[in-house]
């Protein structure tokens, strides 16, 4: 009886694992099969499904522009916050800051998008010109959204350094900041890099936050005040009514996104392992 139970439980766990992996394989295969026929047709500069034009280059540029903007704003602020939490924050502040960052990570992205629409977009319209719906607005909103990822992973990287790095350096007469800058940051470099890369991955994949603030024009941008459309918003906007080749083109967009994220994640894993 016991033996039977043993065998059975092993089988059940195996079956569960097998189902998981088949489900995960299914989604990958399905998207590839659906999108592959159109993959050759999405290399163009013009997206006009009604006339059979399915070029996604403007969306690729839009995604890269908004992501780069988010990284430029979010990365320095995020790393500073991580240093703050790991080294400077008084205990009480740390205990408030950490759950706050966690809450920041949990707020639905559509709420951020809406906040951006109410605050950032009018601000840009009034002070910098243009319609306000722009790369800049998207970058600011995304920068806020990737902060939790960057802060929490960088902080862990800093906290997991052996304490004698710091004590030794301080004992040798270096100041606190010299210790952080010359010792701790270089030592935690791989963890911080991984945090940045994962944050960038999150920015590339975000849909609802940017759908509201980018203006979603299919055009190659000429300034940070231009309206753009990203790969994710393109799928989000058109999925509901797309049919035939149009739908396949959206799946091809999905494949491009898939590959981008895979590259970004592999990079993060590579950086962490290199250590």
């Amino acid at each position: 009886m016991i033996k039977f139970k043993e065998k059975l439980s092993g089988r059940i766990f195996f079956a569960l694992a097998l189902s998981s992996i088949s489900v995960l394989a299914l989604i990958t295969v399905f998207i590839v099969v659906k999108g592959a026929p159109m993959l050759g047709a999405v290399g163009g500069l013009s997206w006009d499904p009604e006339y059979g034009e399915f070029g996604i280059i403007p969306m690729v540029i839009g995604t890269l522009a908004v992501t780069l903007g988010a990284a430029v704003i979010g990365v320095p602020v995020g790393i500073c916050c991580a240093i703050f939490l790991a080294e400077f924050a008084p205990l009480k502040m740390r205990n408030i800051f950490r759950p706050a960052i966690q809450l920041l990570a949990g707020i639905p992205s559509v709420v951020y998008g809406f906040w951006g629409l109410m605050f950032i977009v009018p601000f840009i319209r009034d002070h910098l010109g243009g319609a306000g719906l722009s790369i800049l607005a998207g970058s600011v909103v995304l920068a806020i959204m990737i902060l939790p990822t960057i802060i929490s992973i960088s902080e862990v990287a800093l906290l997991s350094l052996p304490p004698h790095y710091k004590t030794g350096s301080l004992a040798l007469g270096l100041t606190h900041w010299q210790t952080i800058y010359h010792l701790m940051l270089p030592a935690a470099k791989s963890g911080i890099m991984a945090a940045v890369i994962l944050g960038i991955g999150r920015a590339v994949g975000e849909t609802m936050a940017v759908i509201l603030v980018l203006g979603n024009a299919v055009a190659i941008p000429d300034s940070i005040l231009s309206s753009v459309r990203t790969l994710t918003t393109s799928i989000g906007i058109e999925m509901g009514y797309a049919e035939g080749m149009h739908q396949e083109a959206l799946f091809a967009t999905g494949i491009v996104l898939f590959v981008m994220i895979m590259i970004i994640n592999s990079l993060a894993q590579y950086v962490v392992r290199k250590k």
């Binding site: 043993e6 439980s9 092993g10 059940i12 766990f13 195996f14 569960l16 694992a17 998981s20 992996i21 489900v23 995960l24 394989a25 989604i27 990958t28 998207i31 320095p76 602020v77 500073c80 916050c81 703050f84 400077f88 924050a89 800051f97 759950p99 706050a100 949990g106 707020i107 639905p108 559509v110 709420v111 906040w115 806020i144 802060i151 004590t167 301080l170 100041t175 606190h176 900041w177 010299q178 952080i180 994962l198 991955g201 590339v204 994949g205 849909t207 609802m208 509201l212 994710t232 799928i235 989000g236 999925m239 509901g240 799946f251 999905g254 996104l257 898939f258 994220i261 970004i264 994640n265």
Partner: protein, 284 residues
């Protein structure tokens, strides 16, 4: 060691410290601004009738009862499907196999799929569940899509929790004559349960917050869902539609405030679970 060992603070130190404090305060200010803004506009809207009445006139009037029910139903469905699958897979990975090709494949696909944008899951769910399998926009389509979306996270967090259970627990159980099954259920599982729970609770948060994938698979009808096969509209989608189509800003804020409160509560529950786990381990 702290203050006495520190060298004289120099100008560079002071400047760097100022920059870092500024960044931290800036982030807090932005967070407070977002949350207070939504709560200040949204809390006055929330009332008993807002919570219990079905939306009328596209959501201009009435409450959000049906969207709350839709959100809970679709989240519940996703969790019920993903939790056993994810935890079972994690146990298989951690306890039943040696490192090999199969474990590497499962781990690689879980890690890769954890980062895939939710819109891609929505795309898949829309065409596969809604169209090809003919489930239409429904709680089931939405739940299955979300289940696949959170599955990689559940696998990873559960495996993490199982691996961190000290080896000695298993050794003691085996040495007392425990079988594999008994060891897993009486020695490993009770110690890993908090970590697993935390992963599941965070996944609940993701389901509640998800918008794009749910919009494509659950639909957007405001009627109260009556079964697994009814379509519905989640709170996040309701908020998006009210705000983006300028239907009712007031109710949009109310819905957003409710969402933030819900996410906050979910985080509190998750943190309590983790803290209790840490306290429990400290006692040992």
């Amino acid at each position: 060691m702290d203050k006495n060992m520190k060298a004289k603070p120099r100008i560079g130190d002071k400047a760097a410290k100022a920059v870092i404090w500024t960044a931290a305060l800036l982030v807090i200010a932005v967070l407070v601004c977002i949350i207070l803004y939504v709560l200040a506009k949204g809390l006055p809207v929330i009332s008993w009738s807002f919570l219990t009445e079905v939306p009328r006139n596209m959501g201009r009037e009435g409450g959000v009862a049906s969207t709350i029910v839709s959100t809970l139903l679709v989240t519940f469905t996703a969790i019920v499907i993903a939790t056993p699958l994810g935890i079972g897979t994690a146990f298989y990975l951690a306890e039943y196999t040696k490192e090999g090709i199969i474990t590497r494949i499962i781990r690689f696909s879980a890690e890769s799929l954890a980062g895939i944008p939710s819109i891609v899951y929505g795309l898949f769910g829309f065409v596969f569940f809604v169209e090809i399998l003919g489930m239409g926009w429904s709680v089931l389509s939405g739940g299955l899509t979300l289940a696949i979306m959170i599955l990689p996270t559940v696998i990873r967090t559960s495996e993490e929790a199982i691996i961190t259970v000290p080896k000695s627990y298993r050794e003691v159980s085996f040495s007392l004559g425990g079988t594999k099954w008994q060891t897993i259920f009486r020695a490993v599982f009770p110690s890993a349960i908090r970590g697993i729970t935390n992963g599941v609770i965070l996944s609940v948060g993701r389901c509640v917050a998800e918008t794009a994938a749910v919009y494509l698979t659950l639909g957007s009808t405001l009627r109260m869902p009556t079964s697994l096969f009814s379509p519905g509209r989640s709170m996040a989608v309701h908020f998006y539609l009210l705000a983006s189509e300028d239907i009712s800003m007031e109710n949009a804020y109310g819905t957003a405030a409710l969402l933030i409160i819900l996410i906050f509560l979910i985080n509190v529950v998750a943190n309590t679970a983790v803290n209790r786990m840490i306290a429990k381990n400290a006692k040992r």
